[in-house]
Amino acid sequence: MSGQFAAVSAPIKNVQLLGHVTGATQYVDEISFPGMLWIKAVRSPVARGKIKKIDTSRAEKVPGVIKIITAKDVPNNIHVNMAGIGIGPPDEPVLPEDEVKYKGEAICLVVARDEETALKAAQLVEVEIEELPPVLDMEEALKPDAPVITKWGINAFIYGSGMDGATKPGRPGRPFFLVRRGDVETAFKQADKVVKGSYIIPPIEHAPIEPHVCVAKPEHGGKLTIYTTTQAPYFVRDNVATILNIPASNIRVIAPAVGGGFGGKVDPEFEMQVAVAAMRVGRPVKWRWTREEEFTISTTRPAIKIEIEDALSKDGLILGRRARLLHDSGAYTRTSPYGVIKATVNLSGPYHIPNVYYEGYCVYTNRQPSSAMRGYGVFEVSYAVELQMERDARTLGLDSWEFRFKNAYRNGQVTATGRPIDDAYLVEVMKEAASLAGVKLPSHLLQMSSWG
């Protein structure tokens, strides 16, 4: 683009391409070791229930089955995820002890000489579960009489009392993350028009063409090498170390080329289970997820419901915005509290709205846990905000471009969270897009800029 750099700005070819077109690029699925064993999981058939009995006796008799791993084989049975960087709480077990919280949750792992044997044995494990009515609807989950599926009394993450890695414990918390600026009450009183909208996105799956695959290989001296399809090798390392109670420096994590991540390979979802199995049997162990597991077990984008209410002036300004955002975390916390903050602080979009009141709820339901996916939180917010902007414009009888130009944030203004804006460029980008699309903008819009 500019000629000022020697290497930066050059459209150099992706150096991986030659390996891709010759099939030489190495992925985790190619990793194999002599004596390597395979894992298949026994999974909960119900979305919520109490585990009464796990009977592995018939499964253990299948020739080629080496061991069946249950909760008692896990030294430190907490799935740490982001608790290591203060985004807690660690509410998820590596393998459940007494309850299951989503359909498909792994209850125990069969380790066998090959996939077929592991699968056959897994089907012979008998699990007795006392089924409980699942909580599935976010609005229902937030009602005071809803059955509680978390360990802290309500089906929502509590912000402000230390659980969120951003505040100190001991303060009273709220079941939502709050962004508030200016005076929304007055803004709505002064509005010429008030426009409401409600927007829903159900869970979307990353669906990279490469599924989750992990090989854990015990090394001498109590060390462990983990090959895995991860976007965050150090997350894996630190999680596994905590769970196995061994020093993190004893663990080496290797991510060879990964076949697409999109946020679906950020959470350590299964590496700790493979690591536990490998350490228990003392041999290399591999787990290759099926495509069905990718869709039904692996994390998805959170379902999100966003309600927006805009106070508009007749000359086309957004005076104030109220919004309520519900984020479906699924059965466990994972990264959702973080995602809710990211979504909530961005509810103004690229616009200047001086008076705002936003509530972001991290809600727990009995479905597969959600987590990051491309654009975490902001994908959903951009969707809702841009649909709302369209509604606003039509209600005011204003052109879509004009309404956005008028409200685009400028340098020198401040965001909903009080951050000074010094990198605004929306007006310029919109001018370029209009030009590309053959739209002749009126001169009063063309004269606008992000600098005043």
């Binding site: 992925y27 194999s32 090959d114 495509r291």
Partner: protein
Amino acid sequence: MRIKFKLDGEVVEVDAKHTDTLLKILKDKLGVGAVHFGCGEGTCGACIVLVNGRPRYSCLTLAGYVDGKEVTTVAGLAHDGELSEIQKAFLENDAAQCGYCTPGMILIAKALLDRNPSPSDEEIFDALAGNLCRCTGYVPIINAIKSLSKKR
């Protein structure tokens, strides 16, 4: 049973169960890197190989089927160290990102051009309909194929 077939020009012999798929044999018995497991049920195309020159989902092909036949993966397309035309076209058009769908894409593209040297857009879309890609958005892959399409 014991099966014997040519894999990228080399004869291989391997034990297989009657119920084993070709994909299972290639990946877990023979350690072939140039074939990828994407779904195991014929819905993504990542496992496509050529059997006697015709494309097949290796996950839907029983291992016994290839006994006595020639199986070609993307690793077997180069000749005397020179990449095939289709591989060069993919390189020139930046038609891959993570690379996981690429072996299947290249083989299906080759199979298309082998039987139809100047496919229309619709014929290209049709041929690629069984190959999923989550990274590239398909446009550079389509461009790679078009670049090899002979003018009628």
